[in-house]
């Protein structure tokens, strides 16, 4: 995702701190490289390096190739890479039985490139084991019987020879294609490198490779490993050249991954024009849109391009095509539930929020059991199936208060409990000094059914810090969802755009959701809306408009190829726009909430509202059904 390069600032080079990447960046760390301008090196884990270049915080990054493809629009720096031509040792599937006898493989999800490679290799062998995500340690601890594990990096090296069977994935790739495999390479934002800078990276590689033994020894000592084995790993197993065979291997990987809808298809253009300097929009918008409509995975750069340039109708038609493929029955769902805000006392003071009151404020409230009972009874009487329970971060309410509340609710009312956004869960973890999993376990034991996706706003920290300084970071938000999903809880995902965010930020948000969804498949649905300016908020109103809403929803439908449902946010956009949005990729009308203020101000009852919603859905050309929180139909579509 591309912003204009500023060549007067120092070049920001981000490298992965792993040992196997060190030969490529050590020269920068040692100040042994001359470039056209000043540069500085930042080291981090692969996910953070990918985030930095995607969000414009890095100019050149040593990226796993899958991440580069997802981001899109980057230039491949020629000459160096981390790859293997044959066995690599550090990326392998381990098992106590031969591969074809495994029915489950636990995947260490820390490297998407390796996960995609594993999928491709398994598919090529006609194997379809169940793949389950896990942390590295978890994955390996499950190995036994018909369960195997994909392990990556140090974790893989550490268990070499421990299990009866090992499938080295780079070797398997070589066997499959006859080509080397490339795990990572240097990628640059277009235009940041001047002529000659490319060679500096090649020179840096030469510098590092000359010192492999030293680097291995240092690492071996620090981690108590065998230096000779590490040296051999760096020298013999890995291949640092991005030469013609390696480029062919990379191109082959991108092509196969795109056909399997694992990665965006745009990637090869970076490879065939390794030193491209111009814009990479060789593809026509029409072509891009029709690929998107067909379900090709889109890169971030492609998403931004669609958001900025694609005509409204074309976006709508493409999103509608995706909707139709995912939901060929032509049914639009809605849920009957109620949004209950149990407290408005909050310590966070987000700039876009008009709802909260600071601790001690006269208008602060916590709903009493009596008030709650009345609200919930009304929901039950009206045929509602769920309560959406959210509130401020009230320091007086402890975890036990929620547990009591949930137990009471579940005892007294037959309603689903869609409760507490990640922010509230983190808040509880903080005040109880527990980890997120422990909090979620206790809440679930007390009755929590699913987690609402609120508070995501824009999952780009630069934006979050400006609109909600005290709010959790993107990683924290995603982290809570990851834990919840791994526990089997389902959640929705949301996006609130239109504060200080750019189209690039919005697409980055979608990419982060998509990536987590690849890992957990725990998001049921996605909703977006624009920031709602009102009295009491402290951000200028956005000039979003209806077109922007429809465009954003349509692009979200196209980007989030792994999320089943997209909802029309009629509550924020109004039912008229909500109805139109059904033709822009949405298959759900969200919740027919009935809040007392809605009911009384419109002077109507719930029944009329639901009928009205149903009429609008039908008039838009769909059948309509009520659903539960997991999108199961509760009524026959009609």
């Amino acid at each position: 995702m591309v912003t204009h390069p500023d060549r007067t600032e120092p070049l920001r080079i981000h490298g992965v701190h792993y040992l196997n990447a060190r030969p490529l960046w050590q020269a920068f760390a040692d100040g042994a490289v001359t470039m056209s301008r000043e540069h500085r090196l930042v080291l981090a884990a692969p996910a953070e390096v990918a985030r930095a270049i995607a969000e414009g915080d890095a100019d050149v990054a040593l990226l796993p190739v899958a991440a580069a493809a997802s981001i899109g629009g980057l230039e491949l720096v020629p000459g160096s890479a981390i790859g293997a031509d044959g066995p690599v040792r550090s990326v392998a599937i381990f098992g106590e039985r031969p591969l074809d006898q495994l029915d489950t493989i636990a995947l260490d999800l820390s490297s998407r490139t390796s996960v995609v490679l594993a999928r491709l290799v398994l598919a090529a062998r006609g194997l379809r084991p169940r793949l389950v995500g896990a942390t590295a340690a978890e994955a390996l601890s499950r190995v036994g019987g018909a369960t195997g594990a994909l392990a990556i990096g140090d974790a893989a090296l550490a268990v070499e020879g421990r299990f009866a069977h090992t499938l080295d994935l780079a070797a398997a790739w070589k066997e499959l294609t006859g080509l080397p495999f490339v795990f990572a390479a240097w990628f640059a934002r277009p235009g940041v490198l001047a002529a000659g800078d490319g060679e500096a990276f090649t020179a840096a590689k030469g510098y590092g490779l000359a010192r492999v033994a030293e680097l291995a020894a240092e690492h071996a000592e620090a981690h108590g490993l065998d230096a000779a084995s590490l040296t051999s790993y760096l020298q013999d197993s890995l291949r640092y050249d991005l030469d013609a065979p390696a480029l062919r291997g990379l191109g082959e990987f991108f092509a196969r991954a795109a056909s399997a809808r694992q990665l965006p298809r745009s990637a090869p253009s970076t490879v065939t024009a390794p030193v491209a300097t111009g814009p990479q929009h060789a593809e026509s918008l029409d072509r891009l849109l029709s690929r998107a409509a067909d379900g090709d995975r889109l890169s971030g750069a492609e998403g931004v391009r669609l958001l900025r340039e694609a005509p409204l109708f074309d976006l709508g038609l493409a999103a509608d095509a995706v909707r139709r493929r995912k939901h060929p029955h032509g049914v639009v769902t809605y849920i009957v539930d109620r949004n209950v805000n149990y407290t408005n006392v909050c310590t966070t003071s987000c700039r876009f929020c008009a709802f909260y009151r600071p601790v001690g404020h006269a208008e602060g409230y916590v709903l009493s059991r009596e008030e709650l009972a009345e609200k919930l009874s009304e929901v039950v009487r009206a045929g509602g199936v769920q309560i959406l329970l959210q509130g401020g971060l009230n320091p007086d309410l402890r975890l036990s208060w929620y547990e009591d509340l949930f137990r009471w609710m579940k005892r007294e009312f037959a309603l689903g409990l869609h409760a507490l956004s990640p922010e509230e869960i983190l808040h509880l973890a903080r005040i109880e000094e527990l980890d997120v999993r422990a909090v979620l376990e206790r809440l679930r034991a007390a009755g929590l059914d699913s987690v609402p996706g609120g508070g995501a706003e824009i999952l780009v920290d630069r934006v979050r810090r400006r609109i909600a300084k005290a709010k959790c970071t993107s990683e924290e938000w995603l982290g809570v969802m990851r834990v919840a999903h791994h526990m089997g809880l389902r959640s929705s995902a949301t996006m609130m755009y239109g504060t200080t965010d750019t189209p690039e930020d919005r697409v980055q948000h979608l990419l982060k959701l998509r990536e987590l969804q690849d890992e957990t498949a725990g998001f049921t649905a996605f909703f977006c809306w624009d920031y709602q300016y009102e009295k009491g908020t402290r951000i200028a109103p956005g000039d979003g408009g209806t077109q922007l809403y429809l465009r954003t929803q349509a692009v979200s439908r196209l980007m989030l190829d792994n999320v089943d449902h997209v909802g029309a946010s009629w509550v924020t956009q109004g039912p008229a726009v909500g109805q139109v949005a059904l033709r822009f990729g949405a298959d759900d009308f969200g919740s027919v909430m009935f809040e007392e203020n809605v009911v009384s101000s419109a002077g109507t009852t719930f029944g009329v509202d639901a009928r009205e919603i149903e009429r609008r859905v039908r008039e838009a050309g769909f059948r309509v059904a009520r659903r539960d929180v997991r999108y199961a139909w509760l009524t026959e579509p009609s």
Partner: protein, 401 residues
């Protein structure tokens, strides 16, 4: 069917009644919209028109009893009935003379007790206050009523009113022309044929007029098609219509309150089909007061090229803030159009360009033209339709899911 219609449209061929009906029945709303947008962009590029106007209703007393009307009162002394004195009517303009609208738009009930000179004086008075103000007054229904009530010919009525300052006529009162519908919803006012005849007269005198259609009540798609065809025929002969304005039926406080209002999908479809069928009308207007500002924005992609005017009413007058209310509404309209990715063009009643505003650079850039100087007070366009009543403002939670 859609393919053959698309071919016709691209060849510049006229659509027939069967095509029009097929478009109304086509399930793929976006395909119809995209086609209408093609035509709209061929005619107007990215331009979208609006004007600065003000509306005056001097009386709501009306001898007719249209089923859909929640405005009229049968007797001058019925509760809620009001008739302005000439001075009161003129004052409406006088108080706005520091930032005057270019157009005064007057429509009234059919008042049985006023002399014809009242209307003549009314027009003269506005022209005295602002000689160059454009007076767009009296629907064809009113003109026909004047002719019947005061025993004159339509030509005489129009001549005398023009003499007094009438510049053009609005398009109201058309409802649905077809007698099967009209006899049920508007049995005691000008017939469809009379409505068309009045406009023909006006056009013959060199006056420009608009046309409307009230849809979404008891009429069928066939009736809508018939309505459009009759308008197109007359326009072929006179060329006097400027804009066509589809008006959605609103079931509030009237004799058809048990009917649901048409939904946004119908609103957009009707705009689109109108654009495609009325090939001899220069402009299709999505009247934001009727369709809501949000849907008017979308309509600018479904065939509409005009969203009507600032429509300053005294009710908007009370809006808080330091800028004048007409200025406020003006900016909002410009913003509305820019957000829709179009170029805002302020026009006069006859579509002369008064001011062209810069467009937003990209569809997305709309989000970047944020007016940071905007005062803190809530500044929303008044929303008159049902869309506003449902929860839109009641979601205090930042994230309802």
């Amino acid at each position: 069917m859609l393919d053959s219609i698309r071919d016709k449209v691209r060849r510049g061929e006229r659509l027939d009644a069967a095509d029009a009906l097929a478009l109304f029945c086509e399930p793929d709303l976006l395909a119809v919209g995209a086609l209408a947008n093609e035509v709209r962009e061929r005619m107007h590029g990215d331009r979208a028109f609006f004007n600065r106007n003000m509306r005056v209703e001097v009386t709501n007393v009306c001898v007719a009893s249209c089923l859909f009307c929640s405005f009229a009162k049968l007797e001058a002394d019925s509760p809620g009935a009001h008739t302005m004195t000439l001075e009161d009517a003129w004052r409406e303009l006088e108080v706005r003379m520091d930032d005057p609208p270019g157009e005064v738009h007057i429509v009234n009930g059919l008042h049985p007790g006023l002399p014809f000179t009242y209307y003549e004086e009314l027009l003269r008075g506005f022209k005295r206050i602002k000689p160059d103000v454009h007076l767009k007054c009296f629907t064809a229904v009113e003109i026909q009523f004047f002719a019947d009530h005061y025993g004159m010919t339509v030509t005489d009525v129009l001549s005398r009113l023009r003499e007094a300052g009438l510049d053009s006529m609005p398009g109201g009162g058309a409802e649905i022309f077809h007698p099967d519908v009209r006899s049920r919803i508007s049995h005691d006012k000008a017939t469809g044929q009379q409505w068309l005849d009045v406009h023909r007269e006006a056009h013959a005198m060199g006056m420009r007029t608009n046309a409307t259609m009230l849809y979404g009540h008891i009429e069928t798609f066939e009736h809508r098609v018939d309505h459009l065809m009759r308008l197109r025929e007359l326009q072929d002969r006179t060329g006097g219509f400027q804009a066509f304005i589809p008006l959605a039926f609103h079931p509030d406080g009237n004799g058809m309150k048990n009917l649901p209002a048409p939904t946004a999908v119908d609103d957009l479809r009707t705009v689109a089909v109108s654009r495609l069928v009325l090939d001899n009308f220069a402009h299709i207007k999505s009247y934001w007061v009727s369709s809501t500002p949000k849907i008017a924005q979308v309509a600018l992609r479904f065939g509409a090229d005009d969203i009507d005017g600032t429509i300053v009413h005294e009710t908007i007058y009370s809006a808080a803030g330091s800028t004048s209310p007409s200025g406020l509404a003006y900016d909002e309209l410009v913003r509305l159009i820019r957000e829709a990715g179009r170029i805002p063009i302020e026009r006069d009643t006859l579509y002369n360009v008064l001011r062209e505003h810069p467009r937003a650079a990209l569809p997305e850039a709309a989000a970047k033209v944020r007016d940071r100087e905007r005062p803190k007070a809530k500044r929303r366009l008044p929303v008159t339709d049902a869309a506003a009543d449902v929860a839109v403002d009641s979601t205090k939670e930042s994230s309802p899911w």
